[in-house]
């Protein structure tokens, strides 16, 4: 009876949960680094949901199954612990984490290392906007709207980030990892967009009153369009 109730509860939760699946995952990745991040996310999601169901389930089970019933004696059997069990539930989480660590470490280079031969763009963040300049032979189209980075599709682009004033943070969810921008230092992130389109992002390190308006637009165009717009080196 109890099991049936539990089962029914879980099933009734499944419907709204699947409707929420879209909001339970990162935005659709459109660059290999974002893809690798997404893979690690799903691996962890799988592990954590399993753990949640097992541990949360045993919490719920013991909370319901072992409630005092009328007529019971007041005190329960006096069990002080079980060394074997306790060692077990120390070791099993360690093993799970070791497995997760192995997978994550294997994926980290796919996120961190920009492909060789990447074009370079210098990105300067300031209160409250962005400036983009091509480096070397890579020239960005002129006359792009403010705060808009135009890059060619299927071309690795490394962003060299720095700030003119306070700390900012580069974040375009579909196109890879965040990176802080500080004054006086250069940090980096990279994009290798595999589809044309317009991708929105925004500064995600609090930087003052205009922080919510420090939007980023990355416009990914075909190589031909990029050249037509006045870009070079695609």
């Amino acid at each position: 009876m109890l099991a049936a109730t539990l089962f029914a509860t879980l099933v009734s939760l499944a419907a709204p949960l699947s409707a929420l699946a879209d909001t339970a995952t990162p935005e659709q990745p459109q660059s290999p680094n974002a893809g690798a991040m997404n893979d690690v996310y799903f691996a962890i999601l799988g592990v954590t949901i399993t753990v949640f169901v097992l541990v949360g389930g045993s919490l719920l089970y013991s909370a319901i199954r072992f409630r005092a019933r009328p007529g019971d004696p007041i005190d329960a059997p006096q069990i002080h612990g079980s060394t074997r069990l306790e060692i077990g539930w120390t070791i099993v989480p360690v093993l799970i984490l070791v497995g997760l660590a192995g997978y994550t470490l294997a994926k980290m280079p796919d996120v961190q290392d920009a492909p060789s031969g990447a074009r370079q763009v210098r990105v300067i963040g300031f209160q409250f906007g962005w400036e983009f300049r091509g480096v070397g032979g890579f020239k960005l189209p002129k006359n792009a709207p403010a705060n808009t980075l135009v890059i060619p599709v299927d071309t690795p682009v490394k962003l060299l980030l720095t700030s003119r004033d306070v700390i900012h943070d580069w974040w375009v969810p579909e196109l890879g990892q965040k990176a802080d921008l500080w004054p006086g230092t250069t940090t980096d992130t990279w994009i290798n967009a595999d589809k044309t389109g317009t991708y929105d992002g925004q500064c995600s390190e609090f930087c003052g009153a205009g922080h919510p308006d420090m939007l980023i637009v990355v416009k990914v165009v075909t190589k031909q369009q990029f050249t037509e717009m006045g870009g070079q080196g695609a």
Binding site: L20, T23, T25, P26, E27, M37, V40, Y41, I44, V47, T48, F52, V55, G56, L59, S62, F66, A68, R69, D72, I74, A76, P77, Q78, I79, H80, G81, S82, L85, E86, W89, P93, L97, L100, A101, T104, L105, M108, V111, Q112, D165, V166, I167, P173, Q177, A179, D180, P183, G184, T185, D188, D200, G201, Q202, S204, E205, F206, H211, P212, L215
Partner: protein, 550 residues
Amino acid sequence: MATTIEPRRELPTHQHPEEPGTGLMSWLTTVDHKRIGIMYLVVTLFFFLIGGLMALIMRIQLETADGSAVSPERYNQMFTMHGTTMVFLFVVPIMAAFGNYIVPLQIGARDMAFPRLNAASLWLLLFGGMLLYSSFLFGDAPDAGWTGYPPLSALSPGHGIDFWILGLHVLTLSSVAGAINFICTIHNMRAPGMRLSRMPLFTWTIEFYAIMILFALPVLSGALTMLLLDRNFGTNFYDPSNNGNIILYQHLFWFFGHPEVYVVALPGFGMISEIVPVFSRKPLFGYKALVISAGAITFYAFLVWGHHMFATQFSTPVAIWFMLASWAIGVPTGVKVFNWIGTMWMGRIRYEPPMLYAVGFIGTFIVGGLSGIFLAAVPVDLYVTDSYFVVAHFHYVMGSVPVFAVIGGLHYWYPKITGRMLDRSLAIWSFWIIFAGFNLTFFPMHAMGLSGMPRRISHYPNNPEWEPMNQIATLGSFVLTIGILLVLWNCLRSLRFGRVAGNNPWGANSLEWYTTSPPPPHNFDDLPPIRSERPLWDLREERRPLEEPA
């Protein structure tokens, strides 16, 4: 074999402390740990209401994408002061409130080791809070976030940040003095027989709380002092254009900031470890494992601060270290959860309000612990850090402690503190309202973060798709508020109308339940022999053959 219990005897009159008065002056000048504990409770709950009010203003602001309830500048002050208030004026000191009231009773002591220092801690807390809030009177409330990163905080005009720094300095003094007092009390004031290995879990966690405060908070003071000097006296500790180092501040801040999470969490764990066995009618499953895991968490807490800073781009080995060390903390934390469930297993669980809060806490804390695994993984962190996912995570961790563990502890010890029981059905109602409100408020924030919503933004006109999630959270915050207000109403009402509690209404086993409710100024007329971590259980076992002839 039954030993005779020493009959209660009156202390010789010359040892009887004078009966305290009840007038205002008697409270303002008291050095009694119980009165100080109660005043700590009143002060911290007052600041909790203020911090909660600011949270409601934020939730109202974010209900629509245009966010027009307050200006962006005011919004920045709101989240800065909400975070600062909740951390420094509520969650950390409310542990000192319970520590003050309960620890001397649990170890069979007459008072804290340094009663006057204890009073000083209380008044520093109140004055530190007033100093912090007086910034509003001068028109420049702090607005750089509760983390106060330079250069933003260094460049912030006006004196808001200076009030913030000096307020935190005073609050740090309060906490450090309190921590020294707790450590000295626990190591020197224990009753005969109360070995460390017999101390109740709550007292153990207050010991670890104090140790972490002692090692972590002075680092914050150093970081803030350098910021103060940079702002006002021309130094360049954090100014990169003069060879200063921006990232130094973040290292120092999080070297304090991460242990701070456990400063909050461990006493909450301690409260849960008190409540679960009492209402499951069993001993703690694995007392030693629970103490050792708390110790392990205390140690690890100082090794993981870098996981707050992955976006600053560490070299790969450093990033990997912080990732693995952070995950490692999950192991002792898991041990705690498993041992609590082990304590409930085969129990005869009575669902009095404290137990509901305890089970609610374990459930929400599992969610918070698991979302921490995402944040510690470097590649995933670089997606979710500084987004609403983080906000969801730390409210499930640092928010579930005060909302479930502390309110559970309040329901558990209220009869001891006041001598009266809370209204049971009102307490149960308010639990379910709080549980629903908490999850409605914070669970959708995971989804906001995953959809790309950064934290600390006052409006999002370009992303109307975030509106529904924000509206659920706003609705939840009002439900949560109703639940909290019901709890406070219950506490006030029961002072007058509550059933008389008696010494030990829950059939609990630690020493605080041996004395009267509320305890006399000198705490105990006599003490039972202490031969295990459950002296009152031993006492009942000894009496049982006498009371229940076979």
